[in-house]
């Protein structure tokens, strides 16, 4: 019987962070990954945040980490079909933390995950790709191992750390979720990676070598559904995609690839992609249900981290960083539990306490009411982007009409779309959900 200190299911950001933390502390760790290589199944926009990586791999930016571009500018577009009101921040400050760690950078997950998993192997963890976990093994009401798809594939451990991603079947098997995940708890993201020469990207996006831009696009591109489109620059490719709630896709019956095609053909996006060649199409579910849709995070001999635990902050497009921090804290918890020779739920509860102290649960708690609002009010995205564009358009069109008259027109249009009482209610509801 093969027995480890810990089994980690899934070699994504959460699983690898957990494995590195435990292996460095001297624990015997096996990481099971169902893909033929780490990253084979994984998709994100993708922006990653340096400080959470550095917590696990110190000074990673000085190593050969597959960073595509360091984000120097973030733009937000409120778009209609043929215009966009644009806000953004470009600054020489804040691009790097004082120690030289990049604040945010773009990655391609198939490359990044392989590199990250290699760090776990260097720390002493055993990585076993091409292996599916089919079930958990139990003894006296506690999880004691996993049943893999391999022959004689039962593995045992003191703790099993579930990092098997969105819609984890194992979380259910571990009896950590009593309510099923609902369609409004998920967004479906579709994306293309479009190849373009690095110099073309730098010229088009006003960048110097190694610098990158992110653009988030709200409004018409989601066709009345809640979500947003994005354009992120990689080294010699651009990631363009859109994510909307699954519940809204079910209602509108708009195929996600048509939504993506519409975004690519938007008059403001098309010139950014011109001449590019699609290298790869991809799609993935994103767990956006927030705090209220999270499973229980620990049980006897078992912990959950990352997408499997619904750790996504949709408003701030954060997820992989939450996963890394949660994975690290899960790892630290197992190390302490092993030291106390007790891996029951009583000791593993420390994991939840650590998460409460970190930004992970504090941010998810701050936005706990947002997912419900986003599900209920997709009209907010369309109405207010249209009004903002109309107002800007009116004020910038110089046609001899006095400005006061233009202001009156704008207000008339606002009131026509949203009567003052509805306007106040909308603002209050949004404020309440994000305060």
């Amino acid at each position: 019987m093969e027995k480890f200190d810990a089994i980690v299911v899934g070699a994504g950001p959460a699983g690898v962070a957990a494995a590195i933390t435990m292996a460095r502390a001297g624990l015997s760790v096996v990481v099971l990954e169902r893909g033929e290589y780490p990253g084979a199944k994984n998709v994100m926009g993708g922006v990653l945040y340096g400080s959470m990586v550095a917590d696990v791999v110190p000074e990673f930016w000085k190593q050969d980490a597959p960073i595509e571009r360091v984000v120097v500018e973030e733009r937000v577009w409120l778009a209609t079909d043929d215009s966009a009101l644009s806000v953004g921040l470009r600054s020489v400050h804040g691009v790097y933390h004082p120690d030289g760690c990049p604040n945010a950078f773009t990655v391609l997950r198939a490359r990044w995950d392989r590199w990250f998993a290699q760090k776990a192997e260097e720390a002493g963890a055993l990585l076993v790709p091409g292996t599916t976990v089919e079930d958990l093994l139990w003894q006296d009401g506690r999880v004691v191992g996993v049943r893999t798809g391999r022959e004689e594939g039962d593995l045992y451990a003191d703790v099993v750390v579930l990092c098997d991603g969105v819609n984890s079947a194992l979380v259910q098997r571990a009896k950590l979720r009593d309510h099923p995940v609902e369609p409004h708890h998920l967004a479906l993201g579709v994306k293309e990676v479009i190849g373009l020469p690095a110099e073309v990207i730098e010229a088009r996006f006003n960048l110097e070598r190694g610098q990158g831009v992110t653009i988030e696009i709200y409004g018409a591109v989601t066709r009345g559904m809640s979500g947003y489109g994005f354009v992120y620059t990689n080294h010699d490719s651009v990631s363009v995609g859109v994510g909307v709630l699954l519940s809204h896709l079910m209602r509108t019956r708009i195929p996600p690839y048509e939504l993506l095609e519409g975004l690519k053909r938007h008059p403001l996006v098309r010139p950014l992609l011109a001449g590019g060649e699609t290298w790869e199409y991809s799609a993935h579910a994103i767990p956006e249900g927030g705090l209220r849709a999270m499973p229980k995070l620990y049980g006897d001999g078992v912990l959950v981290a990352g997408d499997a635990a619904m750790m996504v902050n949709g408003l701030h497009r954060e997820g992989s960083n939450l996963a890394m921090t949660a994975g690290r804290l899960a790892g630290e918890t197992v190390v302490e539990a092993k030291r106390h020779k007790d891996t029951s739920a009583r000791t593993l509860a420390l994991y939840a306490a650590k998460l409460e102290e970190s930004f992970v649960l504090q941010d998810l708690r701050k936005y706990r009411d947002l997912p419900e609002l986003v599900e209920r009010r997709p009209d907010l995205f369309a109405t207010y982007t249209e009004l903002a564009n109309y107002a800007a358009h009116e004020m910038l069109t110089v046609d001899g009409l006095p400005k006061r008259e233009k202001q009156r027109r704008i207000w008339r249009e606002v009131v026509r779309r949203r009567p003052p009482w509805a306007l106040v209610r909308d603002l209050y509801q949004v404020w309440k959900a994000i305060r």
């Binding site: 033929e36 079909d81 195929p255 095609e261």
Partner: protein, 102 residues
């Protein structure tokens, strides 16, 4: 931007690489539900939200035809089937979609 943008998902799937298993990792546990209930009540949303067009309604056979080879493993159908009759399991270890960029 056009209100309706026709697009062939096949052209997008063409950019992808899979290691195909011989047997499907997806089964419809109760095909009668798709025929008798879902058509009227939900118009079979799996045929539109699936980003890889795995699910197609065949009126002649009165059932959903599952092109499991196209599956990109996004897992949406696990939750998006209104009657939860899609039994989706991860493909065997090492099989299925293999993203090169992700």
């Amino acid at each position: 931007m056009e209100a309706y943008t026709p697009v062939r998902v096949e052209d997008k799937l063409y950019t992808l690489r899979w290691k195909h298993d011989r047997t499907s990792h997806i089964t419809i546990t109760d095909p009668r539900t798709c025929a008798d209930r879902c058509g009227d009540e939900w118009r079979r949303p799996c045929t539109t939200f699936c980003p890889a067009k795995v699910y197609e309604w065949d009126p002649a056979q009165a059932r959903i035809v599952v092109a499991y080879e196209n599956c990109v493993e996004c897992t949406s159908c696990l939750v998006g089937c209104p009657y939860r009759v899609i039994d989706w399991r991860p493909p065997r270890g090492g099989f299925g979609i293999q993203y090169r960029y992700g």
